[in-house]
């Protein structure tokens, strides 16, 4: 039985609590959010706007209806009670939240070891849970680094460079469940029809939504934009809107893009696109064997749902 069937005792309450926690984070007036935004500007080096966008992108996908839809979509899995250690990334401060939510939905205890470079958000998230549901907060613990933790838990979910992940994995007892989220990159393809003059403002706005968060350093940030019309002259407008602009690579034939994308595999995380739905379908067909976990319209790249198999990892399957 699944896991997370809502008929299972306590799951509904859990979903309610987690959804309410997200509402707290989506309320710009909430004191905890206000204080955390200020503290995150210090810990991450991101501007207030960038921090707020990061928070909104994360928790808009974690509202009650979204969590319910996710839970309902899962095959039935037994809930259990493991200790799952999450070793968190640094200044992409929300990257771990989906994994933590899935951990709690599966009934596990969630141990969060923050990066020494970003010690703020994990504590703030736990504080928000404490505020909403103190009993649920007992399942979340923010821990300092201690190598013994690697032996005291039943699963490890870690974020970091490939080198860091290898180092962590080498310290784990054999057979320990492990999910490692290494560094990845994303790109977007802008097809001809999206470059029409009448759609310029819309295109700039959607690209900005993807390029602005995390100063282009998130694994879902489009570092390269492939554009089908090299004559399009509005890119300076985008550069004026963001701290760092994606690289612009013009193309005429799809083969040119495909050839270049082959260089990124297996590090490609998300491919965004702007253009017709036919072009979207075309991309999905073309890239289905490239191990890309996310293909979506531009403007939604930073909005992955709970069901996104980040890095191709099925976390529910690993942790149930």
């Amino acid at each position: 039985m699944l896991a997370i069937s809502r008929s299972v005792s306590g799951v509904d309450d859990l979903v309610q609590s987690l959804g309410t926690v997200s509402e707290l984070w989506l309320n710009p007036q909430h004191p905890l959010r206000t204080e955390t935004v200020q503290a995150l500007q210090v810990s991450t080096g991101f501007s207030q706007r960038q921090v707020e966008i990061g928070i909104a992108n994360c928790f808009e996908e974690l509202t009650k209806p979204r969590i319910i839809a996710y839970v309902d979509s899962l095959d039935q899995v037994q809930r259990s009670n493991l200790r799952v250690l999450h070793i968190l990334p640094s200044n992409v401060f929300t990257a771990w939240v989906h994994g933590a939510i899935i951990t709690l939905l599966l009934g596990h205890r969630c141990l969060l070891k923050p990066s020494s470079r970003e010690p703020v958000f994990a504590r703030a998230w736990r504080k928000s849970i404490e505020e909403i549901d103190s009993s649920l907060a007992k399942s979340v613990e923010v821990v300092d680094w201690d190598e013994r933790l690697l032996h005291d838990c039943q699963a490890v979910v870690a974020y970091g460079s490939d080198e860091t992940l290898v180092k962590i994995r080498s310290k784990l007892p054999s057979g320990m469940r492990f999910a490692g989220y290494g560094h990845k990159l994303s790109v977007a393809v802008i097809f001809q029809e999206a470059l029409e003059a009448s759609r310029s403002e819309e295109l700039l706005d959607t690209v900005r939504r993807d390029a602005e968060p995390f100063r282009l350093r998130g694994c879902l940030s489009p570092q390269v934009l492939y554009i089908q019309n090299p004559q399009w002259i509005r890119w300076p407008d985008l550069e004026a809107l963001v701290d760092i602009s994606p690289k612009i690579r013009p193309f005429k034939r799809w083969d040119e893009v495909r050839q270049e994308l082959s260089k990124f595999v297996p590090f490609l995380s998300c491919v965004g696109y702007a253009g017709s739905s036919e072009h979207g379908d075309f991309l999905k067909r073309e890239l289905r064997n490239h191990g890309i976990s996310r293909i979506c319209p531009v403007g939604e790249m930073q909005h992955p749902s709970l069901s996104w198999p980040n890095g191709g990892i099925d976390l529910v399957n690993l942790l149930h």
Partner: protein, 380 residues
């Protein structure tokens, strides 16, 4: 606060003071008045009541100076705003200073001690006199937000003799004018002091090689470079740099000083000769921390540098830098890696208050702190 300001200013002027108690008192002051810093501390459940040792004062990541207003006063009242040079993020650090007295006192006492050599307690180099200062930076009028240009102005006014001048104007080094000044100094056997960024000096040495130029300056001439190897793509070791100084200018190794500073700190660290071993004045401390755990790295093990600077009265005294370094192990250091001829690694009673560190350079992962890889590597 008047009392602590007075005590810190006195420490900066005289070099005498009680670091730990002042650090804790200053932390309390900054926690109360610096809203961003307070939010950062409280988010970690850290308050002045919970901090008993200077080592536990929360350090802000250096990148925070790009995104947050780290000031103990309304920034409209700043008498100076020092900004970092352009970075890949396009957003410079901004260090708001309300009262330049602390910065100036710290600079003068530190420079006197490590470069000018007139410290009555410790002579790292011979006393300087008042030679011309040949400065390879823009003047403050051309770089009003550059802490380096401001520093150069202070030391020029304090120690520079007649003929002192800036040699970068309108963004470029005036090599012919510098060559004329060096030629005059060589002919008159008058010592000079050259000051500039490492990268500018290297570019000048390249120019000299191309034009077959070199000098034998008076042996008491001196050179201070800053910026080190951390911002340049070109790889060069410290001994090789010092060798080029000798080859081009005739300035011996023991008259070369390397300065390490940043716009986010009000104090500077200095190294001597070909050594990468750096020391700061007694109102500073540096810890080497493990990037994974945030705890202190053992001697000999590289980690990230965390600086504590009491001269940062108006902002934050503890800064987590993005540079790697290590505390030398008690064993003798290999030549060229921290063995400064005039620097003692052993202080009185074990760890000396001004014990230094070996600078290893910028943390290569500093720019890629997100979860993204750089597309550059693939597109090259």
């Amino acid at each position: 606060m008047e009392r602590i300001q007075y005590k810190i200013e006195s420490f900066l002027r005289t070099g005498d003071g009680e670091f730990e108690s002042l650090a804790l008192e200053l932390f309390h002051y900054q926690f109360n008045l610096n809203r961003s810093y307070r939010a950062y501390c409280e988010a970690q459940s850290i308050t002045p009541a919970s901090v008993e040792r200077w080592q536990d004062i929360p350090a802000v990541p250096i990148g925070a100076f790009k995104s947050a207003e780290l000031a103990t006063f309304p920034i409209g009242q700043a008498s100076a705003v020092f900004k970092s040079s352009a970075t890949t993020t396009g957003t410079p650090s901004r260090h708001y200073i309300k009262d330049l007295r602390y910065y100036e006192s710290s600079l003068k006492t530190g420079f006197q001690r490590f470069v000018a050599g007139a410290d009555p307690k410790k002579h790292y180099v011979a006393p300087l006199g008042q030679p011309p200062f040949l400065i390879l930076t823009p003047p403050p009028s051309e770089a009003p937000h550059s802490s380096l240009s401001w520093m150069m102005d202070v030391v020029k006014r304090t120690w520079g003799g007649p003929g002192s001048d800036y040699f970068i104007q309108h963004g470029r080094l005036d090599e012919p004018r510098l060559v004329r000044s060096l030629r005059r100094a060589e002919e008159s056997k008058q010592p000079v002091v050259l000051l500039g960024t490492t990268i500018t000096l290297l570019a000048f040495f390249d120019y000299c090689r191309t034009h077959t130029l070199s000098w034998q300056l008076s042996a008491s001439s001196r050179l201070m470079d800053t910026g080190g190897m951390k911002t340049q793509k070109r790889e060069i070791t410290r001994p090789e740099f010092v060798r080029q100084v000798g080859e081009t200018l005739g300035i011996p190794e023991d008259q070369c000083v390397n300065e390490y500073g940043m716009c986010e700190l009000s104090s500077q660290f200095y190294g001597h000769g070909a050594s990468c071993y750096l020391q700061g004045p007694p109102w500073t401390r540096t810890r080497v921390t493990d990037p994974l755990t945030g705890r202190e790295s053992p001697a000999g093990k590289p980690g990230l540098l965390r600086h504590f600077d009491l001269a940062n009265v108006d902002s934050v005294l503890a800064i987590q830098a993005e540079d790697l370094g290590l505390v030398p192990s008690p064993n003798p250091l290999p030549k060229g890696r921290g063995q400064g001829s005039a620097f003692s690694l052993q202080g009185e009673g074990g760890r000396s208050p001004d014990e230094g560190f070996i600078l290893l350079g910028r943390d290569p992962s500093a720019e890629v702190k997100g979860c993204s890889l750089s597309a550059e590597a693939f597109l090259a």
